[in-house]
Symmetry: C2
Subunit: 482 residues, 2 copies
């Protein structure tokens, strides 16, 4: 067997071929490997650690808002999918089926979960009896499978990791409040943790989750102008409650159907943060999610190496104690220059250099990955300076991404205008839409772009549909999407 190394010599520039750039970066930074199973990747430690940081942060936010975690079975009986018509239509083409187990053919096929509304619905029907059991607020961290035709590492893989929240409520108002609360948590998380600006809005009917009454999303713009749907929150009405008989006795002792919601984000966020922030030198990791926030590199000739390394290790302890995720690279067999390139490529937000002259002067050099700025800093104020610089870098990354999005955001009145925009710049465009599925389909057919969402706060309100010219019902963001 030959050892096929996924080694990348040079990273293709983004301007030359963005897809190539993406694949080069994630391989060179050792984030993933293709697996022998179609469309499934291995999350190597450097990408899995990003996911762990995402999990930790989101899990805290879910718990603060009263949710608890649980775990439901991976397998879903075929009959469950039949119960909600839209749901089966949406997911059936993507399901893998277990037909044999323990040496026997199964009486009923079992799907590998693509999402868990049906299984959760079945259990909630058993668990919920009275209004006292509501709201029921549960989240699950799990693997799910959707047998995709075209896959792309992190962004679209056959198996992926995610969280799926499932909640049941007494009435529509409470369920809608939950749906919006979770969307807001996703927005705040994307912007304040991943430094990714997002657009909040409602999906058009054709882009809704299979079985939802309303789907809301946060949409992010990648550096090639394409969109990633970074999180969704669904108000499911009583559709799953009716399908699975999730009823409760209300305060007047009457049986009522629950109103349910579901909401999720997945490992595609890893792909999104790479494509939003990365550059031709490699990854650029937002400080709050970065596995390593600061890399320390001792420099100078061999004769001063020992005291320099000793001082670096002292400072390392101070930073670590203060909660900074910090590492030292004191390998003698790699040059500082090689290390500078290596950690820039891996996107570590701050590099710290310390040499013999810095020792004398009681200072260190901090270098920002995002701006390239070099800063001399007194060792005695190191912790504070590092914390400030991490906060600054977060803000700079957010601002930069926001500026990029603004620069690639248009407003169009006709389909031709939109086509011209896509040719010239790519990106998102705001357009009026009459509300007909036909017009939406025409946009997709002629441009490849889809409605991203109906933003809650559009920059302007459009009067006419940019396809048919009729009165606009909504002002919609259109763009090509991953």
């Amino acid at each position: 067997m030959s050892k096929e190394k996924q080694f990348v010599k040079e990273i293709t520039p983004q301007s030359e071929d963005f897809s190539r750039w993406y694949l080069d970066v994630i391989k060179k930074a050792d984030l993933m490997s293709y697996s022998p199973v179609r469309g499934c990747i291995v999350f190597k430690p450097d990408s899995y650690e990003i996911w762990e940081n995402i999990q930790k942060e989101l899990d805290g936010r879910f718990k603060e808002t009263g949710h608890r975690n649980a775990y439901f079975p991976l397998f879903i009986p075929e009959s469950f999918f039949q119960k909600e018509k839209d749901h089966i239509e949406g997911f059936n083409p993507e399901l893998p089926w277990v037909t044999e187990a323990g040496g026997e053919k199964l009486e009923e096929r079992l799907a590998i979960r693509p999402t868990s509304e049906t299984m959760v619905g079945h259990m909630y029907a058993e668990w919920i009896n009275s209004y006292r059991d509501l709201p029921l607020l549960i989240n699950q961290w799990a693997n799910v499978v959707r047998w995709e035709k075209r896959t792309q590492p992190f962004l679209r893989t056959s198996e992926f990791l995610w969280q799926e929240g499932h909640t049941a409520h007494e009435d529509e108002a409470d369920a809608r409040r939950e749906t919006m609360q979770m969307l807001d948590i996703y927005k705040d998380f994307a912007e304040n943790f991943l430094a990714i600006p997002v657009i909040l809005g409602a999906k058009t009917p054709s882009e809704r989750f299979a079985g939802a009454v309303d789907t809301f999303s946060i949409e992010a713009m990648m550096k090639d102008g394409k969109a990633v749907q970074a999180g969704t929150s669904h108000y499911l009405g009583t559709k799953f409650a009716v399908a699975f008989d999730i009823k409760y006795l209300d305060r007047e002792n009457q049986h009522q159907f629950c109103h349910t919601t579901s909401w999720g984000v997945s490992t595609r966020l890893i792909g999104a943060l790479i494509m939003v922030h990365g550059d031709d030198r490699g990854l650029v990791m937002p400080p709050k999610v970065a596995p390593t926030q600061l890399i320390m590199i001792p420099i100078g000739p061999p004769k001063t190496r020992e005291p320099v390394v000793a001082r670096v290790n002292e400072l390392f302890q101070q930073l670590k104690k203060a909660g900074v995720r910090v590492k030292v690279d004191d390998r003698a067999d790699q040059s500082p220059g090689w290390k500078f390139n290596e950690y820039e490529m891996r996107g570590v937000p701050i590099r710290l250099e310390l040499g013999p002259r810095d020792m004398e002067n009681g200072q260190v050099v901090l270098v920002s990955r995002v701006s390239g700025e070099k800063k001399m800093v007194a060792q005695e104020h190191l912790v504070e300076e590092v914390q400030n610089m991490l906060a600054e870098i977060h803000q700079q990354m957010y601002d930069k991404a926001k500026q990029f999005r603004d620069d690639n955001f248009s407003s169009v009145d006709t389909l031709d205008e939109f086509k011209a925009f896509l040719e010239e710049k790519r990106g998102f465009a705001l357009a009026g839409w009459c509300g007909s599925a036909a017009c939406e389909a025409q946009v997709k057919e002629e441009t490849g772009a889809t409605s991203r969402n109906i933003p809650f706060e559009p920059a302007e309100h459009k009067e006419t549909c940019f396809v048919c010219g009729d009165k606009a019902q909504h002002t919609v963001v259109f763009g090509k999407a991953y």
Copy 2:
């Protein structure tokens, strides 16, 4: 559809029917639900939170010893299983197979992973080139499936959650060091976190992991005298390395096969801690893993309710700030007596009562779940008293479990003696064993008991095989097992 509530009125006493007691307790404490998929349970929030605490603690220990997490695919191609003869023989009868996906029949069947040695082996062959890549120390938190004929909640379910460590090393010595290090971590975790005393030892060949050179285990005794294998650590030699071509260039530039290990614990630990510590009143949770360590219950007549609840909430904040996992139950529609029973049944280690007289005296009452001891404590020393009491309860629970195990641990010289012991007491027995599989099989056939392990530190060394009377090669712990 009828609402089938898994409601238990009274918990069956352990002495009457231990299995019944176990099922009563886990239902009444709301830990799980049976799912519509054979042998799969739903981990409800109260049991999942136990698992989260287990994960957090173990994950920290794995990372401290240089391991990183990664994620490998759920699906394993059928051909992978063929590569290691013993492995396929061991797992084949338990595999579920995906034969169709995305509307098409698959060319090659995909197994749902029962464990990931084969997939990891395939990837390691790609990742490892040189001794500089070694040791490679990776862990995975994941779901796995083994299509079991007989299942029992937590202890043996078709799908379960676990962690599986997979490491590759330059030589046998380093791989064996790792195997023992992880076994020691499991032992320390079981004893110092779960308060479960365990016996460390080597499995006999018939009880080894399918494909291992050596399997080591920690074995715990349940309150019915039966054993739970609570964790295993395997030295795999070069068997998987040869099967999957995991080679490296050594320091002399020669190709060598890696020596690999794997090790795991699973959600069966939840079952074990219930069966080791629980009593006729319900769960008894070891303080370090308990989702709620202390429950606060305000008492007294309605007219003093407001100031009492206010004081309880102040103390709640102090305890929470100090890191105690604490909850308040100030519901007015449930009596204190009802609440005392409820939280005893749920196994909360400490109950705090505060009434109007306690207010006057500046004290509270702490009640230990394990000893029933009531203690008046000054409010000003509450945090310290609670922390001490939690530590004390941990130690008492460990000592109690150890005492139980000692009381039900025999030493036998003949198979008849062992049978008599099993009739009278159940439990474990130390016995000499000649090393023949035939003698081991005879024990199993005649008593239902199996060799648990060959303990590293037996209380005595046996001279003759308790079955055939030949010279003993090993002194072995025998017992019935879950």
